[in-house]
């Protein structure tokens, strides 16, 4: 019994070793498709397009983007997860992949359907208010929320989005009851906050930054433990007594059965692209700060994010909202 098992493993290994170099030698043999599960013009789209543009010399083939939109990202993620695992279809795996499965019943994919290539950026969550808002600090906000249950409105990017969970997790920790107003993405949330139609915008830092730098909106807190990934002159949530390190992320993934040698080439390509000065300045101009992790490190980090959002989702459903 034991010998047959060993033989089987050996045979398997032999097969694998024999097969993988061949697959790796073939990769990349044609242009690589970068699947973007969200529409043209959004944050995910910007990062994905920039990657496709700058990765060409580092991966040796053309990369082209395809926006496969719809169903809170389900359409694109499902397509990317079910693609042939040969490395020629890679997907922008973003926060929705670890938030929507917890909040949308029947959401067809999770982060487990992908092998993570690399993490490109991970902006923390930010709470911002209109520049004329009476809430100057997080304390003001919480005090008002406690005195007036269900009076505050939090604008979020919709039911499957991480921003909804971030807002809810915060409200729960702060012990306040608020109304969540879902929008079609973070752009409309920031617009509605600037138009004074909602009190607080829950977004990530990259999305809010352009609005904060020219003073249209004011940040109350940043959900990060590290001061240098926060915002200048804005207290982090940790400093205000909320141990929350949560936000959004933009990563790249390949189908889960992609062979290791192919993964190695993709990871290497991403590592070189992420070190590319032009790529970095290009992203920074659009408000995205690079924050990289590769391969297993990135995968472990995303798994941890999934647990974080899972917990937040349990809190939200416990509240019955």
């Amino acid at each position: 019994m034991r010998t047959t098992q060993i033989a089987a493993i050996a045979a398997g290994l032999g097969l694998a070793l024999g097969a993988f170099p061949a697959a790796a030698a073939e990769f990349p043999s044609k242009p690589i498709e970068v699947v973007i599960p969200f529409a043209q013009g959004g944050g995910t789209d910007q990062v994905g397009r920039a990657f496709a543009q700058f990765a060409k010399p580092h991966l040796g083939v053309d990369l082209f983007v395809s926006n496969r939109t719809g169903g809170s990202g389900a359409t694109g993620f499902a397509y990317g997860a079910q693609a042939a695992p040969d490395g020629h279809v890679i997907t922008m795996t973003v926060t929705t992949l670890v938030s929507a499965p917890h909040t949308i019943k029947g959401y067809p994919v999770t982060y487990r359907d992908f092998k993570t290539i690399c993490l490109i950026s991970a902006p923390p969550g930010v709470l911002s208010v209109h520049k004329d808002s009476p809430f100057k600090t997080l304390k003001d906000l919480i005090a008002f929320g406690k005195a007036n249950p269900k009076k505050l409105t939090f604008g979020t990017a919709g039911p499957g989005s991480n921003t909804h969970l971030i807002g809810a997790a915060f409200a729960n920790k702060a012990g306040i009851e608020v109304r969540y107003v879902p929008h079609r993405g973070s752009g409309p949330v920031l617009t509605a906050t600037f138009g004074k139609h909602v009190d607080v915008a829950v977004t990530d830092k990259a999305e809010a930054l352009p609005w904060l730098t020219d003073g249209r909106l004011r940040a109350l807190t940043v959900f990060t433990g590290e001061a240098d990934s926060g915002l200048k002159d804005v207290p982090t949530a940790k400093a205000a007594g909320f141990d929350m390190d949560i936000g959004s992320f933009r990563a790249l993934g390949a189908p889960k059965d992609t062979p290791a040698p192919v993964m190695a080439k993709l990871i290497d390509g991403c590592r070189k692209t992420a070190a590319d000065k032009e790529f970095i300045t290009f992203l920074e101009k659009t408000g995205t700060e690079i924050n990289t992790k590769f391969g297993d490190d990135a995968a472990a980090w995303i798994k941890q994010q999934d647990e974080l959002f899972g917990e937040a989702a349990r809190i939200v459903s416990g509240q019955g909202s």
């Binding site: 719809g70 169903g71 919709g158 659009t286």
Partner: protein, 493 residues
């Protein structure tokens, strides 16, 4: 201020710059005329090319493609009965009817001149009234959007082409289809039958292509026979002075409607065209002629959807708010050039803002010039033998449906929508109301739930000053005739 406006035209005295604007407008017209390439896609396709250009050149390429595409959508709508972009759905009704009557040239001419007028109104608004309009647009919250969406929905009646009940039936089918997929408020997935595709909802570009294009090709096949089709003479292109005078008030009115609808974040040229058409019909002395090839039926939506192009730039340039997908792409382009649209742009880079204002005006004029010069050429499409044209359109339909999201399921949706459309044509059920339902359904639903959330402490807040006015406008066509009748009775008694 006026010297700033004039100085804005400076860079366009350069031949290269002028050539770039005309070139991108021409590219936009072609993109818009191809069903499946919407204005948004055209702009998204061209955007990466602009990153290496100087800022003004890059942004003007996008503006040019945008203006061209919105106008180009009417070409296929008029000639083939297939709206090239969602903004041209309303144009299809009367435009195609005119073409079938042998007035294809005139329809193209009216569409182009209306586009020109709408575009110029929007460029003037951009130059002179940006700030007040932007403040007005910013005042739009859930309550105002809800009122606007319902107001636009009433256009179903105007686009029913005579049979109100059949129009309503089609509209309700559209609203039902719009409900498929994950809802935006609570994330509940409806009628998806465990199909990932359906969770994303029915994407309306393939549906529009199918609904309009496929029935035309099927009818084309029915017409193919031993009898050769008589060659279509290209009629005059420029409207007579009398017709031009008659159309002008409608064009001006719809241009203004377009600017406002375009400036409000989240609504764009498609909704502007729908509202423009229905207002044109409601205010017409001959509403019964709409749908049978009335030139106003072409002028109104075309003036409105081009008015929306400049309109959508207003919140982007003054407040940094991307009101729609096209503006979002432009925002990205600004930022890659190190410019942040918003209040500070006007302070720090007023020069480029005024150059963009001037450029928008020039792009609109380019739309007019190229449209009128090209009309005769475009109309030659009708000289292509039906047997060839039908097949070519069919190929375009499949490509257009597929290219939207590179999804074969979209092709299947296109075919299903096409068979539905064919059945509707045979049963004499208008198709435009279905499209309105499909476009406005998600908006009405999500704005209604947002309104209910933000007004949960005091329901009377549903009636804000702006929303009350829109609700009254919505109710006016129902109430005014009744009141008028009562008055007439009273006077007789």
């Amino acid at each position: 201020m006026f010297d700033l406006i004039l100085a804005g035209f400076g860079p366009f005295l350069d031949w290269n710059m002028l050539l770039l604007v005309f070139g991108s407008v021409a590219a936009g017209i072609v993109a818009g005329a191809i069903p499946g390439i919407s204005a948004t896609m055209g702009v998204a396709l061209i955007a990466p090319l602009t990153f290496t250009m100087p800022p003004l050149a890059g942004i003007m390429s996008l503006v040019g493609v945008y203006c061209g595409a919105v106008s180009g959508g009417s070409i296929s709508a008029i000639l083939l009965g297939i709206p090239g972009t969602p903004g041209a759905v309303a144009t299809t009704l009367d435009g195609y009817a005119m073409a079938r009557r042998g007035e294809a040239g005139l329809a193209l001419g009216v569409a182009t001149i209306s586009s020109l007028i709408g575009g110029i109104i929007s460029a003037l608004a951009l130059m002179l009234l940006s700030y007040p309009i932007a403040d007005f647009a910013l005042a739009f919250g859930p309550q105002e959007y809800l009122a606007l969406a319902v107001f636009a929905l009433t256009a179903m009646a105007a686009l029913s082409g005579g049979s109100f009940l059949r129009g309503m039936l089609a509209g309700l089918i559209g609203l039902f289809l719009a409900g498929i997929g994950i809802d935006e408020t609570y994330g509940v997935s409806r009628f998806h039958f465990d199909q990932t595709y359906l969770m994303g909802g029915i994407s309306f570009i393939p549906a529009i292509i199918g609904l309009f294009a496929l029935p035309e090709t099927l009818q084309g096949i029915e017409r193919i026979g031993p009898v050769p089709r008589r060659a279509i003479q290209i009629s005059r292109i420029l409207p007579s002075a009398r017709l031009a005078r008659r159309l002008l008030p409608a064009q001006l009115r719809c241009g203004v409607i377009g600017v406002i609808v375009g400036a409000v974040p989240g609504t764009g040229s498609d909704i502007a065209a729908i509202i423009g058409y229905s207002q044109g019909r409601n205010l017409s002395r001959h509403p019964e002629r709409f749908g049978t090839g009335e030139p106003e039926g072409v002028a109104c939506p075309e003036a409105a959807n081009n008015g929306a192009t400049g309109g959508s730039l207003i919140p982007l340039l003054t407040l940094g708010i991307p009101g729609g997908a096209v503006a979002a792409i432009m925002l990205g382009t600004f930022m890659t050039h190190g410019l942040q649209p918003g209040p500070l742009l006007m302070q720090n880079n007023a020069e480029i803002v005024y150059q963009i204002f001037a450029g928008t005006m020039i792009a609109c004029i380019a739309v007019g010039i190229l449209g009128l010069l090209g009309a005769r050429l475009f109309a030659r499409v009708l000289a292509v033998p039906e047997a060839v044209l039908t097949v070519a359109v069919l190929v375009l339909c499949v490509l257009g449906a597929f290219s939207m999201r590179n999804d074969t399921t979209d092709v299947a949706i296109m075919v299903i929508a096409g068979l539905l459309g064919y059945a509707m044509v045979k049963l004499d059920i208008p198709r435009a109301p279905l499209v309105i339902g499909l476009i406005l359904g998600p908006m009405v639903e999500s704005e209604l739930s947002r309104t209910l959330i933000v007004t949960s402490d005091d329901r009377l807040n549903i009636f804000t000053p702006i929303s009350t006015v829109i609700w009254l406008l919505t109710a006016a066509p129902l109430i005014v005739p009744l009141v008028a009748r009562v008055f007439r009775r009273l006077r007789q008694a």
